[in-house]
């Protein structure tokens, strides 16, 4: 996950914001027991409030020994977890654990809320396309490298974090790095029906009528080299273990509260005793308002990516229609 430098808010902090709104207790105590040898250790924290078997906690927040652990067992005064680092008894124990009803009939689980967060952030990024990355650049911490060209290979996969490729440039030894024209296979077909047989230095790229998450080149490269991709990017998915509690949001802090509202909209619309359509609708509208604000903000500073104009129809477009 590459960080913008404008993002300081962690997954845990958003989970805490959600917890406060849902009136869920939060773990905020100290480890109580220090140990020098990592491994499975039973500790006696200052408070066991909110700690249950399966709870994920951040230990030693902000310290060099910071880590996330999962509680494997509890008593009334202790919890056990597998620690990777040694810790002091004064090290912090933090966690928005959503303990209500745990572990038999929980109202919410941490993994559920983290999943909501990942979905909401990616929805926000899709609708605003406000975060970009460039392959092979050492500006952001860990972008993927440029995509290696293979002689006579027309199709190339995009990096997994791509929402939409916005620009492609060919980096070929002995040649100037030059952008490729964005086109479509339909246009190429009209222009020259023999184009699939062409092999030369790539001049154009396209993404229509091929597999999801791939791009194609015309002509197919006749030399080695690489492709530099500029793209709007998504965040990690919410699969269990994909996001650490101390991971940062991908979007800048200034718009992080819309992620909270998106999560709350999901929390209050799920089945069960917490369902609250009124508040869910309110939060949904706040999320949508945030999307519009960011779209308009980007437009206002001369950074319109076209995300606001993405058309949508609930009906499939009939095959063969030619309405432009």
């Amino acid at each position: 996950m590459a960080y913008s430098g404008l993002s300081t808010i962690t997954i845990e902090q958003i989970l805490e914001d959600v917890s406060f709104t849902l009136v869920e207790p939060i773990v905020n105590t100290t480890l109580g027991t220090g140990f020098a040898v990592p491994g499975s250790v039973a500790v006696t924290p200052g408070s066991m409030a909110g700690i249950y078997t399966g709870a994920q906690l951040i230990i030693a927040l902000g310290q060099v020994t910071q880590e996330q652990v999962t509680v494997t067992g509890v008593t009334s005064t202790t919890f056990t977890a597998v620690f990777l680092n040694p810790h002091l008894g004064t090290d912090s124990v933090i966690g928005a654990t959503f303990p209500s009803g745990q572990t038999v009939n929980p109202l919410f689980t941490q993994n559920e809320i983290i999943g909501y967060l990942a979905d909401v952030q990616n929805d926000f990024l899709l609708k605003t396309r406000c975060i970009f990355e460039v392959t092979g650049s050492d500006v952001t911490p860990t972008p993927p490298g440029n995509i290696a060209l293979v002689v006579n290979n027309r199709f190339y996969p995009q990096p997994s974090q791509v929402i939409r490729v916005e620009r492609v440039a060919a980096v070929i030894p002995g040649q100037l790095t030059t952008d490729l024209y964005d086109t479509t296979q339909s246009d190429l077909d009209l222009d020259n029906s023999d184009w699939p047989a062409n092999s030369n230095l790539p001049k154009r790229w396209f993404r229509d009528q091929i597999d999801t998450a791939k791009i194609g080149l015309d002509p197919s490269p006749n030399v080695g080299g690489s492709l530099e991709l500029w793209y709007s990017k998504r965040g990690p998915t919410g699969d269990v273990g994909n996001l650490k509690l101390y991971s940062l949001l991908l979007i800048p802090d200034v718009m992080s509260h819309y992620i909270k509202y998106g999560i709350l909209a999901k929390c209050w619309s799920k089945d069960g005793e917490t369902r609250d359509p009124m508040r869910s609708e309110y939060c949904k509208k706040r999320f949508e308002f945030g999307v519009v604000l960011v779209q308009r903000f980007m437009e206002g500073i001369g950074l319109d990516t076209g995300a606001a104009q993405q058309s949508f129809s609930p009906m499939a477009v009939p095959a063969g229609s030619n309405n432009g």
Partner: protein, 247 residues
């Protein structure tokens, strides 16, 4: 209304300079004790809501606009363009989420990557001593032309994140909005505080949020004199750059 009370309140507003000054007003509005709040955590809720208010205000109005220059003597408050790069990331030293202007020995012209590609194919390979063009790449990156041969100090300005210090907020964070708009931030935080109550009181408080929006509309109009209008109440009028920004 008791004008003397109103006058005193106004005076309090005028001397405010940080979140602590506002949080007590939010607690007053919530009928919570200023020193021993029971239902809301000052650090984890009230201050967070006030920062949230400032963030939303920034997106609505495009304020505060900040100019980062080494001449200001700000700690880390400048940007040094590194050599050998076309793409540069805004960082915590220059916490602009809406970069609007770049100045080196002279003004660096703003353009787009699409214009660069069309007007100057192969621009990524060019090398020089000073930047002559810059363009935004999303909210967190920007590009320059040409690649530099040596680091260059630049002055950068744009819309800044209103609060740049990380959580937990201490209350000492400055409120970088004109004093006459700070009461709107209190309105916002008061309204959002009611979300966890979820009663009719919360629904009623939407009018208070509405008041915040109206005040931001006023601020946006006020800011138009400085730059572009970025907000309309109905969200129906497209935002646009001013002729000044287009140049």
């Amino acid at each position: 209304m008791d004008l003397s009370v109103e006058a005193r309140h106004d005076q309090v507003i005028r001397v405010m300079s940080n979140i602590s000054n506002l949080e007590v007003l939010v607690l007053d509005r919530l009928e919570e004790s200023r020193t021993n709040s029971q239902f809301w955590s000052v650090q984890n809720e009230i201050r967070v809501f006030l920062v949230e208010a400032m963030n939303e205000a920034a997106l609505l109005t495009g304020e505060p606009e900040i100019r980062y220059s080494t001449n200001q003597g700000l700690a880390g408050g400048s940007l040094v363009l590194p050599p050998g790069l076309n793409v540069i990331q805004l960082n915590e030293n220059v916490p602009l989420f809406g970069m609007m202007r770049l100045e080196s020995s002279g003004t660096v012209k703003k353009t787009t990557v699409w214009d660069m590609d069309r007007m100057l194919p192969g621009w990524e390979n060019d090398v020089g001593n000073v930047p002559d063009f810059w363009f935004p790449i999303g909210l967190t990156l920007f590009g320059i032309h040409p690649q530099l041969t040596a680091p260059v100090n630049v002055i950068v300005s744009g819309v800044a994140e209103p609060v740049t210090s990380p959580r937990p907020y201490t209350g000492a964070e400055p409120v970088d909005y004109q004093e006459e708009y700070r009461d709107a931030l209190v309105d916002y935080a008061t309204h959002i505080s009611g979300l966890k109550e979820g009663t009719k009181e919360f629904m009623d408080s939407i009018k208070v949020y509405d008041r915040f929006i109206s005040r931001m509309q006023e601020l946006s109009k006020f800011a138009t004199r400085k730059g572009s209008l970025r907000f309309s109440r109905t969200l129906g009028v497209p935002a646009s750059t001013t002729p000044v920004e287009q140049r």
